[in-house]
Symmetry: C2
Subunit: 583 residues, 2 copies
């Protein structure tokens, strides 16, 4: 009995609808991108009444499948002006899934400036005023919201922070982790600002009396689930006490720095002399020193067997923040030349408190440093800058508008973005395949849309030369596979295992077939991935994007990057091959 | 002996080159747009080393032709990301013309942050440090610059203000008027920021020992000049003590308000109850009261017979500012709901002092008011806001970035812009032809690219219903004719006369044929205008623009405008007919 919950913020109504037949196999990114494609006028203003925010748990979310609690969030991005899908790991999507709610569609825009809490239960969706909870740090308000709605056993909470309330384009959508911390973000592209424009501050989901996820073929599902779990617990990157469980995603800091591809000082160098001080190894060792024990990482969401979410502790042993991801350690560290883990942790925590995408904010601070607002490396000043965002001062609003707005405001031409979204932690001049992914991604510069780092640097699914520009096919196949994974509800990190271990890949497909009663094969993974990309690309075309938007910023073509002293030299015609099928 | 002066700011060199044969008949906008089209990579960053700023006087500039001292300035716009041509009336272009300098091309970008003065004489172009003149009001530094370079008899001065120094996208390019005031602006599109990015603060032109403009057929030229002068001195709008000479361009305030098309409160209404208090009539009467005499207006540049440039005087009779154009009275007045002429005058003067486009700044303040920065109508606060721009505070930088950046930063969806440039003083919902011009103009929302107000409101060249959407042909033919006029060096205001008086139109063509030795007819006016538009449209296409950029903002399609309660209801297909030749 799958259904959609349609929420209209113009008149504050909410009603369940049956899931349309055409969407019956769609969930996660496939469904959010489908609804955005089908319902949102591509040329609408992202903060106007005609944009929508769509939430959808994945195909296997809510089942016993491992590492499958991702929630997909879609809409038109105020940062890029194109379609946006961002996802996060949290129990919130599981609760939707077991309630048979395949999607929540938030639309309209109120006449006044009030903020609201939407409470979703099995048979009801109702509003409560939320103004009393605005203007505050999320860690201040989450405990109260949980307390008023039955606690962590009964509900999970989706929200926006002050950045979203102020409709800043770097505002993410926040979900709680398993301990109720407001720290799991569908961070990129400013969908928090879209919720802010609609006056929706919280969505609380209570799954009491839920019927659970319907499974068409229990046996097949179970077989697939086991094959996938086996692959995850076997692969060196994803296994218990493996790379991710021990050092978190920040295990990449030293690896990418060694490759000469860790963007430093706003993408002026690919190597950071302070890298080791902010790396996953430093987090692990620092925690050991400060807490007296070896802290292996914890799951961000129910049912995850990878368990890569870390904590960072103060000198007195108390918890400072969770989690310092690789992207955050880089964005708030190396990219701003900050090598003090306590400062990086504070910046990270403030982003969680104010509801911000750490990548975009690190990028904005680095561009502001480039523009003379602060010296590179001044962590204390960077912390003040993030507080300015939390206070919505003019400077804070500039930074909260993201790196490109910061560059425009300070007259800085060196903004490392694609389609208005700041680049993540991999230098495209030094790793050509990820550069092609940045260029063509429907999302703007985004590593998660096709993580070619796996073969280009990590030796997962083969080993490719990062400086070889012949990566069009790689960028295409990775994006198709990713779009499918993003639809299953699995975390993208299962890719490390299933790209190397064939039975894991089969297990993922078996699980989906088990739930849906389909008979998909590996070909369907590519077919569905391609279909999703085509929906997204069609939206972007209708929003005004052309192949000229599939380009890296000009400065990378004439400014050589140390230490390899390479420029971005991939021909435009090569980039255009990614989706033309000519490569 | 026509030539081009090529200035490279990377290594601070300047050299004369012969005018290429292909450009031999091109001047003004035709030449600046040609050089930008041919030399500037369309996808370059506007503030990067590959953008250029091109200056060119018109075909008849520097001759005895009336009202012909316009200087055209071109480049890629940091405001729109497309091609930009802005022009101003000043003696500066005349001096270039009589020196046989058909264009100055400024290119490159220095490694350091210093600012420079370029001195151009008959045989030389050399640099002097200008850092001592940065960070100041232009009226403070102009007298010194004149004094050091021989005074107003010898030189005219082009410059940027602090807004340009800080590379703000609303920074214009300033020229002096006949009294040496820094107040004649090629204002729109941020070309001042481009000069700022190149470290070029001043260009001083000394035309000592100039040979004058070569005229191929003196007799024909003279005949044309006389026919044009006769038309200008005869037409009710352009004649001595006519509408423009008496009330200035601000004569339009009451007329457009009466038509329900004076954008008020950031385009929330087409009628302003305070309109009469900021109108040209109020300026004339106020000056009479304060100075004791009837002040008819003065020429902004040598040889103008229309003489529409006004002054505004303080209560004690001293001069406060010159000139309060219609666009400025509206942008800094009605659009911000400010109806105090002294406050409008102060805002106007501050824009002149800091080097700002009044239209864009009025738009930015109105959007900021919409975003809660100040109440509509608070003139005192608006004055403080413009001072913030002059001080380059974060809030000042936001506003100096223009209305769209202000909207992005404050999360405001109601930004009345096209291609990132704020709309001028005519509500497109109430006057459909000007809306089509805004939509398709290569410049972003720009009334001067095709002033259809003439027939739609003023009854010049016929009288059309402003609410009739069938204006594709009008928008096209007006843009073609305008592009030609912008190439002659004539002020666009000659159009009032020559559209109604056929001999004036012939006179304009005769003059050009007289100077160039060509045999152009009225057909050539349209042919050349079309060619210019095609160059500009080709640049914009290569910069990434599509027909989806030829659209008015979404809110105008669903928000009815009082008093006519009309929305923007012109079909996209009608807009696309403007240049498809289907209408």
């Amino acid at each position: 009995m799958d259904r959609i919950l349609r929420v209209n913020m113009t008149d504050r109504t909410a009603a369940f609808e049956p899931l349309p037949e055409k969407y019956k196999h769609r969930a996660g990114r496939w469904l959010t991108s489908s609804i955005v494609h089908d319902e949102v006028p591509a040329t609408c203003h992202p903060l106007g009444p005609n944009n929508k925010v769509v939430f959808s748990p994945g195909i296997v979310t809510g089942t016993s499948s491992p590492t499958s609690s991702r929630i997909s969030v879609g809409g038109k991005s105020p940062l890029t002006g194109g379609i946006k899908e961002a996802n996060a790991g949290t129990g919130w999507g599981r609760r939707l899934a077991v309630l048979g709610i395949r999607a929540i569609v938030v639309e309209g825009r109120p006449k006044d400036d009030g903020f609201w809490l939407l409470k979703v239960t099995k048979d009801d969706a109702s509003f409560e005023p939320a103004d009393a909870w605005t203007g505050k740090r999320l860690s201040e308000v989450y405990p109260d919201v949980f307390a008023e709605h039955g606690g962590l056993d009964s509900v999970d909470v989706c929200s926006i922070g002050v950045a979203g309330e102020h409709r800043m384009a770097a505002a993410g959508v926040c979900f709680n982790d398993q301990e109720g911390r407001p720290n799991r973000y569908a961070g990129r592209g400013g969908l928090g600002a879209v919720l802010g424009s609609k006056g929706l501050k919280f969505i609380v989901v209570d799954d009491g009396k839920a019927d659970g996820v319907e499974i068409a073929d229990e046996e097949l599902f179970d077989e697939g689930r086991k094959k996938l779990a086996a692959a995850l617990t076997e692969h060196a990157i994803t296994k218990p006490k493996g790379a991710l469980n021990t050092y978190g995603t920040a295990v990449l800091v030293n690896i990418i720095n060694e490759a000469g591809a860790l963007p430093t000082n706003n993408f002026r160098s690919g190597r950071f002399d302070g890298a080791a001080k902010i790396a996953g190894e430093a987090i692990f060792e620092g925690n050991k020193e400060r807490t007296g024990g070896e802290l292996y990482n914890h799951p961000c969401s129910p049912g995850c067997v990878i368990c890569c979410s870390n904590t960072w502790h103060r000198e007195d042993g108390t918890e400072h923040t969770s989690c310092i991801e690789y992207e955050s350690a880089w964005a708030l560290g190396a990219n701003c030349r900050i090598d003090d883990l306590d400062q990086v942790a504070e910046l990270n925590q403030l982003c969680n408190e104010y509801g911000l995408d750490t990548i975009e904010i690190g990028g904005a601070i680095a561009v502001a440093m480039e523009g003379g607002v602060a010296p590179f490396g001044d962590g204390a000043r960077a912390i003040e800058l993030v507080h300015e965002i939390g206070e919505a001062t003019p400077l804070g609003r500039i930074l909260g508008g993201g790196a490109l707005t910061t560059g425009r405001t300070f007259g800085v031409a060196r903004v490392p973005h694609v389609k208005g979204q700041n680049m993540p932690a991999y230098e495209p001049r030094a790793i050509k395949g990820i550069g092609m992914t940045y260029a063509v991604s429907t999302m703007g510069a985004d590593h998660t849309s096709g993580y070619t780092i796996a073969p280009e640097i990590l030796g997962v699914s083969g080993k490719l030369d990062p400086l070889n520009p012949d990566k069009a096919e790689l960028a295409r196949t990775f994006q198709y596979a990713t779009a499918f994974i993003d639809s299953t509800g699995h975390c993208l990190f299962i890719a490390f295992a299933i790209l190397d271990i064939a039975s894991g890949f089969e297990g993922m497909i078996d699980e989906c077939n088990g739930v849906l009663g389909t008979e998909w094969t590996a070909d369907d993974v590519a077919r569905i991935g391609k279909e999703i990309l085509e929906l997204e690309r069609d939206f972007n075309r209708r929003a005004g994007f052309t192949e000229l938007d599939d380009r890296l910023p000009e400065f990378m073509t004439y400014e050589p990057l140390p230490p390899h002293d390479v420029v971005w030299d991939v021909a435009d015609s090569e980039i255009d091959k990614v989706f033309s099928g000519q490569a």
